[in-house]
Symmetry: C2
Subunit: 276 residues, 2 copies
C-alpha cells in the first residue's frame, strides 16, 4: 500500500504539474484570443485543455525516459534515476498519454486532431533526434510553444487571431532559445552542439534579432487589420521589451532572454485583453 502511494507520487513528479498548468493556461489564452473571455465554450475549452495536458504529460515523461542516463548525475532524485519508476513503465505511460491525447482530440474537430498529431510527432522527433541539434531543435521547441495557442484557438473554431499569436509566440520563443544557447555556450560545450557553436555568438544573436523583428511585425498585423479591441494596445509595451532585448542580446544574453519572457507574457495579456 505504501509502495502504491510512492508510485503515484513519482508519477506526479514525472508529469510535472507546473508545466501542465502552464500549458492549460496557454490553451485557455489561445481560445480566448479567438472568442474573447467567453465561458459558453467551456466544454470545448475543457476538452482542449485535457488533450493538451495529456499530450504534455507524455512529452515530459518521454523527456525523463531519454534523459534517464544523464539524470543519474544531473538529477538523481527524479523518478527514473531514483528507481521509483522503471523505464518500461515510463515508456508504456508515455505511449498511453500520446494515444489518449490524439484520441480525445478527434472529439473536438479535425483541425485539433491534426495539431495534436503533429505535436506528438514533433515531441518524439525532438527527444530522439533534435534536442542537441542547434537551430532545428530550437525551432521544435518554438513550434511546440506556438502550437499550444493555435490548439486553443482551433478548439473554438476561430483561428485568425490565435494564428497570429501562435506565430508571434513561435518567433519570440525561437529568439529566446537561441539567446539561451548563447548564454549557456560555455556550459554546453561538452554535451550539445548549439547554433552559437556552429555559426558564432554574434551571428546567432543576429538571427535571434530577426526573429524578434518578426514577432514585432506580427504584433502590428491585428492593429492594421483592425480585428482586435483597444486592450490590445498593451502589445506596444511588449514590443518595447522585444526591442530592448534586441539591443542588449549580444552584451547581456541572460537579461535579454529574461526580457523576452516578460515580453511574451505581455503579448499574451494584450491578446487576452484584445476582445474588450
Amino acid at each position: 500500500m505504501k509502495k502504491k502511494k510512492e508510485t503515484i507520487k513519482a508519477l506526479i513528479e514525472l508529469i510535472r504539474p507546473l508545466n501542465c498548468l502552464m500549458v492549460s493556461i496557454g490553451v485557455i489564452i489561445g481560445s480566448f484570443t479567438g472568442i474573447g473571455v467567453d465561458f459558453s465554450f467551456a466544454s470545448l475549452i475543457f476538452l482542449a485543455v485535457l488533450v493538451a495536458v495529456v499530450v504534455n504529460m507524455g512529452g515530459n515523461s518521454l523527456n525523463d525516459y531519454f534523459d534517464r542516463e544523464i539524470d543519474i548525475i544531473a538529477h538523481p532524485k527524479r523518478p527514473l534515476p531514483s528507481k521509483r519508476l522503471t523505464p518500461k513503465f515510463v515508456v508504456i505511460f508515455t505511449v498511453s498519454c500520446f494515444i489518449a491525447g490524439i484520441f480525445f482530440s478527434t472529439f473536438i474537430n479535425p483541425f485539433c486532431f491534426a495539431v495534436a498529431l503533429v505535436s506528438v510527432i514533433v515531441l518524439i522527433l525532438y527527444e530522439k533526434y533534435l534536442k542537441n541539434k542547434g537551430l532545428i531543435g530550437n525551432m521544435a521547441v518554438a513550434y511546440l510553444t506556438g502550437s499550444i495557442f493555435l490548439f486553443g484557438g482551433a478548439a473554438v473554431g476561430r483561428i485568425m487571431a490565435p494564428v497570429i499569436l501562435a506565430v508571434l509566440a513561435f518567433f519570440a520563443t525561437l529568439a529566446r532559445e537561441i539567446i539561451k544557447d548563447v548564454e549557456d555556450i560555455a556550459g554546453d560545450r561538452k554535451e550539445r552542439q548549439t547554433l552559437p557553436m556552429k555559426i558564432g555568438e554574434k551571428n546567432s544573436v543576429i538571427i535571434a534579432d530577426f526573429c524578434l523583428a518578426g514577432a514585432i511585425f506580427l504584433s502590428f498585423l491585428p492593429l492594421v487589420k483592425n480585428i482586435l479591441g483597444k486592450g490590445y494596445l498593451i502589445v506596444i509595451i511588449a514590443d518595447v521589451v522585444f526591442i530592448y532585448s534586441m539591443f542588449i542580446a549580444f552584451k547581456n544574453p541572460r537579461s535579454a532572454q529574461k526580457a523576452i519572457k516578460i515580453g511574451m507574457i505581455l503579448a499574451l495579456i494584450s491578446f487576452l485583453l484584445a476582445n474588450i
Copy 2:
C-alpha cells in the same frame, strides 16, 4: 566623450531597466483594476508610472550602494565594484530619485503622495536595517510589491479592487519570500538571519501556508461582493496553484515558490480581466 558614454551605460545598469519595466506593468495593472482597460486616464497613469519608476530606480541604486562591499566578490561587474561609478555619485543619484518621485507624486493626489512617501521610507529601512532580519524583511518586500498595485489604483482614484489586489499580492509575496528563505537555508547560513533559521523550516512553511490561505480568502471577496466581471473567474486557477503550493512547500520549496509566482501572474490577469 567616451567616458561619458560609459557612465550612462553604468547608470542604466544601476537602475535595472527590467525591474523598472515590471514596476510599470504593476502600476498599469493596478490602475486598470480600478477602472478597467481605459485609456482616458492615460495622463494620470503615465504620471503614476513615472513616479513608481523613479522611486524604483532610487531603490535599485540604493541597493547597489549598500551591497558595494559584498559585490566586489558576488557581482564584480556591477557599476560600483567595477569602479565605473563612485559611491558618492550613487548616493546623490538615489536621493535625487527619491525626492523627484515624491515631488511628482504630489501632482497626482494626496493618497499617491502618501503611498510614494511610505514606500521610500520602507525602501531605506529595508536596505539599512531589515534586509537580513527574517520575517520583518520579508514583510517589507511584500509591502513594496503590494504598494505598486495600490499606487496604480490610487492614481485613478478607485481603490476598492486595487486594495484587494494589493493585499493579496502582499500575502502571496510574503509566502514566496518565506519559502525562498526555506529553499536557501543552506546558502544563507553565513550571511543572513532568516525566519527558517529562527523558528525552523516546518514552522516557516506553516506561516507561509497561512499567508497563502489569506491570499485565497481575499481572492473570493470580489466574487462575494460581486464587484468584478466574469473574467475574474480566472482567479480560481490562481487559487488552485496557491493550494498546490501550500501542499508541496515543505517537500519542495523551489517548486512551491515558482508556483506562487505563476499563481500571482494568474491573479493579476484575473484582475485585469475582471472589468469585462
